[in-house]
Each structure stands twice: as structure tokens, then as C-alpha cells.
Symmetry: C2
């Protein structure tokens, strides 16, 4: 995610914050998981991505299965895993007179162990496709694969042994790793089958993204993004309650702003902390809202005090984008995220995000800021709200419009509502209008869909909110999701903003929020 | 090398011998070697295997070379190496937002970094082709490749980075490893250019095969073969003088005979000692001749005493193959090695090998055996010599003949001469007859060529011996050999008994003997 070229940047590292983050390094929880089934992967044009699995036998059969040159097998662990994989390779026949050459492929989805990676032509790096080529020089050998994998399916292909021996592959174990505390008890009663499944799957999604930091996706990008962190943190409160992990991530972001003080959209943690050169209008503002959520959820104010000036600085920087009409200046670049949606104009939704962030910023300023800062933020909010209603609301279309083409998108309506541009009654009407409007730009990600559902809940449209939650996240379940996906368009199942659905992440932070809705609005 | 199917075998492990071998584990010598040039590999139908290299720049340029998706480079270390490879990978551009995916290919010869391994269709395991696929998850990283490689050329292909960054690959270092002592001083004066080159290259060949044991080839099979050990040991005396390594290998062979007491043709050392299920008539007999050579060279008789009964047993077992005419029973199986030569009948040459081994066995018996054993071996030799002259010599053809088709091969003549079937004068005449005979089955390996040259030297045909030495091993030098090859047929440069010359070993134990000839017969 991101394509800006690096320019000369100066990073203002803050060693005190770095040290705090270091001290907050999480402890990990490990569990050994074994494969359940040996499966076949078959093409089927009627299922998502065109690939499905069918059970062949229990995975126990593996230890008696001999592999010669060209033989392969696919293991199904029946759940989504993040961890390290080990297995034993033994020789059968004559003493092995050559190394065994084996390729392992890991997939979250059947398509990943079905299609040939060499056909991949997406624009994200092929290096994300999970495969390993290993030479086993002496046999028997206990193999410890070198990396962390994220998968449910594991394909083993024996590229060669020799004419004198075959191999068996046994004791396949995945040692999963997560920094999440033990899973909380489920709150949805068993009779509410779909909601209970949503609860389970979103918990697993969140758990598998909780590592050294909150990762966006453990398969790809394995990185700390502010937009994801915000939603993960919200889902974490009241479930895993790893509040220190949120705190750690906040300190990390605050530890490496640019020379202006701007917080990056995402961070690289290893080998040393390095902010990405991607800066997004909305994501930078979310530093402050995530701090707000954390401080109120954990009721811990020292962190808020320490990080307040970083948070406040994001509002000042965002305000530099305001023009004479108190509107955000639009441009052609990738300046704000909002959604992975071709042609989506970012002006109005970003305006809504700004207002949303200001609401939380004002509350935070009242706790830890100066009077002057509070006043500044209140005044900013007032101006932005006024401008939204004067310039971005079309009384003719009865929708918020965005950009010079006055685009009507769901994103604009949702963020304006979340930003408090309308009162509850008007917001309800607007949300209902969305449902009946065909000429409105839709949504592509669970991330944007989350905000739509949040707007429905917040405005009291609970029934509609549940319907959308079940339609959208339930749709993924219908297609076999073990964890919730980065991308899902019910009307275009192969959708990928990266040129290939095989590189999409199928366990993704920003999709874990059903648990948040369920606990906040339905089962509290 | 070998295709017999495993049957139920009982190995008689001898723990005392195993322990001796363990105590004799060699110490290693390491050296850091850097690449010299960055080269291009080009197709050229006029050079061996159709591939040649051309210099592009000094290898120093590498550190400033940026690699993006699909970029590659080939490094030339300008000498043959056996060791482990490390390098640094750094990112250039934006912070690396995806792993770097890199393929490394190692080649002893240009063809190995020229041709695509996926086209390989030889019958030896593809696993011997030296390649690694690695994912570099965090950057910068110091990469330590997982295995030992055997190469002069190293190809680096960057399969992918991402759109946001490129990589540099720098500080490429090969840490070579050998158990050979420091190289001895050269004895051939500089003016004898060709012989001096032969001396240098055969020393390097031997050095690079000296590892935890004497390996046949450090690229392939990396294994202790008796046929190779015998020649390596002969080349070792008076050069590297690692006599303990020979001793270790003898103890290893003696530590794992089969239930009959037969010594295997080769051993696997790791993870635990395991004799291969290949047993060869000639190779088993070479256990005794190698023990003989060792005892006399090192003038160390305790080992000879300890291992004598194992050695003597090989003669008894070999004698079981003698028929009513005191000839070896021939069959269709791969019962004796002699040479990699299609259609070569093994009867007469193996008969010669038996006589050769008996000559040494008798001398050894006189030192460490009983009178009865000495008498037994002498009588066996007498019978075999008589049978050779009565049944295998064709007075019509004036050649030794082999098998029911009375095949005339160089191998039969050479081994009969080395076995002492003829007196010096007759042997000379026979060797001269070979030169002028076109209807005689030739040789394919340096191993068989060695014995031909040895026969020439032993019968006093020194000039012809030197001519052959220079023609054959000098021919490899003309084709760019840095070390001497497993296979070389001057009239068929692409010859391979394995279906593909790319899998041939280009640093091979049995080819290291020019140094032995030079020191024994020419520069002593």
C-alpha cells in the first residue's frame, strides 16, 4: 500500500519515546497446532477465486505417504494460523545419495495453493507469496523453516529426491505465535449462530494480527499502520485487553515524526524503527483519535499527557490544508486514504475525518491540553462544520459532494455523519437515502464498510446496521473465511487493488471489527 | 553413482573402529575469499558446453549496483571454491515495504550459471544443482546462506523487491573450508609451464575434496568413495601429508561392513555412519590396497594390524566369484566399476584389479598377516595370473579379451598390466599396440585414464606417459579447468553418464592425480 517516491526526509527520533516503546515489548503466547486433513485442491469456477479443497484423508496418513520426484500433498490445518513450521523428513529405500529438494507453499486461501505463483502479475511484490525452496542435505532431518508463515493450507512438493530413495514428511507442526492474551469468553449466545460465528472469526482475526506490534496483516504487509491500529485498538478494549500493546504502538508513532512533526501513515519496526515515507491526511489525524480511545478505555492519562503535543501537532498540520473557504485543498496525489476505490474523491470524506478527529481532540484537550489549544480546536471544528454545510452539502442532490466534480460517494456521507455534520435525525435520513440511491460511489474495503456500519449504529439505525454487518462480514463467512479479509466486494469476488487477488491479505486488521460492534451495540 | 535397490541388509558396526574414526576428525582451515570480477555469461557454440564468460567490470562495482525486480549479476571468483557464502543486502529508495526475494545460483562452470535449471533432465537428482531461493524480510540484512557451495561463479537474481525500493548486494564473501594442511611448495620449475599448471590445479582439486572425509566431489556426491579415496590418498602422500585423514577413512570403511564382512563402495557419514547399499568388486578390493599404501607411506603399522582382517576378508569374498577356470564370473549387473563407459565388459579388467590388489595384499600379509594368509594370497595370485594368460589372452588379437563377446578394451589391457600379468617388455609392446589400434574400446573418465598413464609410467614408457598426461589433463586446462573434472572425453566434450553435463562434478577426487605422477616419476 503506497507508491510515493522517497525524498530527502529528516526523521526527528525521540529517544525517550523509543525507550518507552521498547519497555512495552509484548510477551508472546505459543501453541503447537497439527494439520487435520490431507486435501486435494481443485479448480471450480463456481467458488470464490475458482479453487476449492476436498478432503482426501486425515492428516495422520501423511507419515505413511512416500514422496518421490514430482509428488505433492496439501495439508489443511482447518483454521488460520500465524507461526513457524517444523517437520521431519525421513528417507525410504536405499540410503539417500542426494539431497531432497522440497518446495513448501503456504496459503490462507485455496487459490494460493492452487495457482502457480510464477503466473503472478500483480503489482505488489511477489515476495509476499509464501513459498520456500529447501535442500535437505542429510536425512533424517528435523526441518525448521526459516520464516513466520500465515496460512491454513500447506502444500509440500518434492521437486527431487533421487532414483534410490523416497521421503516421508511427518510431524508437521505449526507453533503459532501471538502477543494477544488468552481469548476472552464469547458473549454471543450459541443460538445466535451467525453473530457467534462473526464474534469467533473477528476475535481470531484480531488475535493473529497481534504480534510485536498490531500488524495490518500477518501475511502482508506485517506492518503497523495507523488506520488499522485505530480499529484494532477499539476491538481490543473489552476483549483481549492488551492495552499496553496499543500504548507501545502510540509511542512508536510519536517516536519518529518528520521534521514538521507529522506522524507517518505506517512504521517499519525491524531492524530499527523507520517511518515509511507515506503520509496520509486521515491516518495522521488518527494518531490523536487512537490516543483518545486508549486514554479513555484504559483510563490512563500519563500517556495522553506525554503524547499530547504530538497529537495536537497533527491538527495544526492538517489545518495547513484548509483554503479560503475553510475546505480541504484537493489534489491528484494519494494524499488521504479513505478507501481502496478507484476514482474516489478524497476531499469531502477527508473533511469528515478531520471533523471526527477534532471531536475527539477537543475532549482530549480538555483533559490534557491548554485552554488555548482547546479553544483552537473548537474554533477549527466550528469553521469546518460550517464550511461542510455551506460548500459540500448539495441541497439539490441531498448528499454531500466532493471535489470539483461534486462526486457523491458513500464515503463522503459516512464521514460527514461520523464527523457530526448532521444531527441524528438528518443523519438517519441521509443514511436511508444511501440505500435507495443507485448513482452513488460504493465501498471496497471492510475498512470503509466498518465506518458505514458505525454510522448506522451511532445514528440509532441498529436494525440496518446489523443487516449490513451480517450481509458484509457474513458474506465472507459464506465464502469460507477463517479470518476476515483485507478486501471484499460482494459483487466482484476477485477484486484486488493490487492487480491480483492472490496477493490480498485474508486476515486483516481493519476487518476485525464485528467483535467491536457486537460488544458495543448488541451484547453488552 | 549407483542404482541398486536396497534389500534387507545387516550392517556389522564396529564401535571400536567408529571411535577411532571419530578421534581422527580433522581440523579445518578457513579463508575468506572475495569475488574478482562482475561478468556476463554468453552463449557461444564454439566453447565447451556452449557457454563462456566475459568480464564486465571489477567486482568492486557491485556495491554501487542497484537491483530491481528481474535484475541479475554474475560474480567470478576466478578460482574454484568450497565454502560458505555471506553478503549484505541493503535497500535503496523508500523504506523497503516488502521482503526482497533473491535467487542465488552457484556454478563450477559457466554453463551452470548460463542454462536454466528448470530445463534439467538428467537422471541424477536435480537437488545437486546449486541454487537457493531466499526471502530477506528485513533490510539491511547480513545474509548467511544455509549450505556449503562449490563454485567459481555466483549468479544473483533479484526476483522481486517492490515498486518502492531496490537493493544493493555487497560484501560478498566465501569462507572456504578444507581439512587439507597448507599447500606444499610447488616442485615443478616455472619454466615447465604446463606441468606447473598441472601441479597447481591438481593440488587445488585435492585440497577442495579434503573435508570431513576425502570427498569424491565437493559439489556432488560429497561422499567417501573407496575408488576415489585410494587415488586421493596416493596424491596426498608427499603433498598435503594429511595421513590421519586417510587413516580416519579406512577406519570408517572398516567400521561398517555387511554381514559377510564386505566393505561398501562408499559411505554416508552424516547424520550417522551408513554404508551405501552399493558394493563393487573392484572398490571393495581397494580397501586393502589403500591400507597397503597408507601403511607404507606413513610407516605406521598399528592401523594395518587393526584393519588387516577386514582387508583380508575382501580377498576371500572376491575369490567367491572365481569359476572352475579360475576366471571371474561375469554378469549383467553393475558388479564392478572400472570406468563410466557404456558397453564396457568388466570381467577382464576386474580380473586385473584382483591381481593388482593381491600383489599389495601379499606384501601386507608379509608384514601383518599369518603365514597361512600369505600362502593363500600367493596361491590365489598364481592361479589368477595363469587363468588370465590361458583364457583371457587372445594370441590371435594380441590383446586381453573380456566376457563372452571377447571384448577388447583399453581397461582390460591396463589392469592386466597393473596386475602384473605381463613382464615389462611384453607390457610395453601391448601399450604401444593400444596406440595404433582403432578397434578398441576407449576410456571416459580421468579415473580410467589415470590407470592408463600409471601403466605407461610403470612399464618405463615415460615419454608416452607424459604425452598422455599433458594431452588429457592439459586438455581440461585448455577448456578452462580451475580444478580437474569428474568426466572428460576430448572427443565428446558434452559427455556425461548422467544424461546432462550440467550435473557433472568439475572438481573431482579421482582426477587429482597429475600431482602424484609429477612427484613420483618426474620431479622427485
Amino acid at each position: 500500500m503506497a507508491m510515493q517516491q522517497q525524498t530527502e526526509r529528516v526523521i526527528q527520533y525521540n529517544n525517550e519515546f523509543l525507550e518507552k516503546a521498547e519497555q512495552l515489548k509484548p510477551t508472546f503466547r505459543y501453541k503447537e497446532v497439527k494439520p487435520v486433513d490431507l486435501v486435494k485442491v481443485n479448480e471450480n469456477p463456481n467458488v470464490i477465486h475458482g479453487w476449492e479443497i476436498s478432503r482426501e484423508a486425515g492428516a495422520d496418513i501423511l507419515k505413511s505417504k512416500e514422496f518421490g520426484k514430482g509428488d505433492e500433498a496439501v495439508l489443511d490445518f482447518k483454521t488460520h494460523l500465524v507461526g513457524r513450521v517444523t517437520f521431519d523428513v525421513n528417507a525410504v529405500g536405499s540410503p539417500p545419495d542426494a539431497p531432497a529438494y522440497i518446495r513448501l507453499t503456504f496459503g490462507e486461501m485455496p487459490v494460493e495453493v492452487g495457482e502457480d505463483f510464477s503466473d503472478y502479475n500483480g503489482w505488489l511484490s511477489r515476495s509476499w507469496l509464501q513459498e520456500e525452496y529447501i535442500h535437505v542435505d542429510t536425512l533424517p532431518t528435523h526441518v525448521e523453516l526459516p520464516r513466520r508463515y500465515c496460512f491454513r493450507f500447506m502444500k509440500m512438493e518434492v521437486l527431487d529426491t533421487s532414483r534410490k530413495y523416497n521421503v516421508t514428511i511427518s510431524n508437521v507442526i505449526c507453533r503459532t505465535e501471538t502477543s494477544a492474551n488468552e481469548k476472552p469468553e464469547l458473549m454471543v449466545p450459541e443460538k445466535d449462530k451467525l453473530n457467534r460465528k462473526l464474534e469467533q472469526v473477528s476475535l481470531l482475526t484480531l488475535e493473529n494480527c497481534m504480534q510485536d506490534v498490531f500488524e495490518d496483516g500477518p501475511k502482508r504487509d506485517r506492518r503497523l499502520w495507523l488506520g488499522d491500529l485505530r480499529l484494532q485498538a477499539q476491538a481490543n478494549y473489552g476483549t483481549f485487553n492488551n492495552d499496553d500493546l496499543v500504548k507501545r504502538c502510540l509511542y512508536l508513532f510519536a517516536a519518529a515524526p518528520d521534521s514538521q512533526g507529522k506522524v507517518a501513515a505506517n512504521l517499519f519496526i525491524h531492524p530499527t524503527l523507520m517511518p515509511d515515507d507515506t503520509y496520509l491526511f486521515d491516518y495522521s489525524l488518527f494518531f490523536s483519535t487512537t490516543l483518545y480511545d486508549y486514554a479513555f478505555a484504559a483510563n490512563e492519562w500519563e500517556t495522553a499527557l506525554n503524547l499530547w503535543s504530538t497529537a495536537f501537532r497533527q491538527y495544526e498540520i492538517a489545518a495547513e490544508r484548509i483554503d479560503g473557504n475553510d475546505l480541504l485543498m484537493d489534489d491528484e496525489s494519494w494524499w488521504s486514504f479513505i478507501d481502496w476505490k478507484d476514482g474516489l474523491n478524497k476531499q469531502a470524506p477527508s473533511h469528515g475525518v478531520f471533523m471526527y478527529a477534532l471531536q475527539k481532540g477537543i475532549a482530549l484537550a480538555e483533559k490534557v491540553g491548554t485552554d488555548q489549544q482547546t479553544t483552537y480546536l473548537r474554533e477549527l471544528y466550528r469553521q469546518l462544520k460550517k464550511a461542510a454545510l455551506s460548500h459540500l452539502w448539495s441541497s439539490e442532490k441531498k448528499f454531500f459532494v466532493s471535489g470539483s466534480d461534486k462526486q457523491v460517494s458513500i464515503a463522503s456521507q459516512v464521514w460527514m455523519i461520523l464527523g457530526g455534520a448532521l444531527d441524528k435525525n438528518e443523519a438517519q435520513k441521509l443514511l436511508k437515502r444511501i440505500e435507495n440511491e443507485t448513482d452513488i460511489l460504493g465501498m471496497n474495503t471492510p475498512y470503509m464498510y466498518h465506518h458505514y456500519v458505525e454510522a448506522l449504529f451511532q445514528t440509532g439505525l441498529k436494525e440496518e446496521a446489523v443487516k449490513q454487518l451480517q450481509y458484509y462480514w457474513g458474506g465472507m463467512l459464506d465464502h469460507g473465511a477463517d479470518t476476515f479479509w483485507e478486501l471484499y466486494n460482494p459483487e466482484d469476488l476477485n477484486f484486488s487493488p493490487y492487480g491480483s487477488h492472490i496477493i490480498n491479505s485474508y486476515c486483516h486488521a481493519w476487518s476485525c471489527t464485528p467483535i467491536y460492534f457486537l460488544r458495543k451495540y448488541l451484547y453488552n
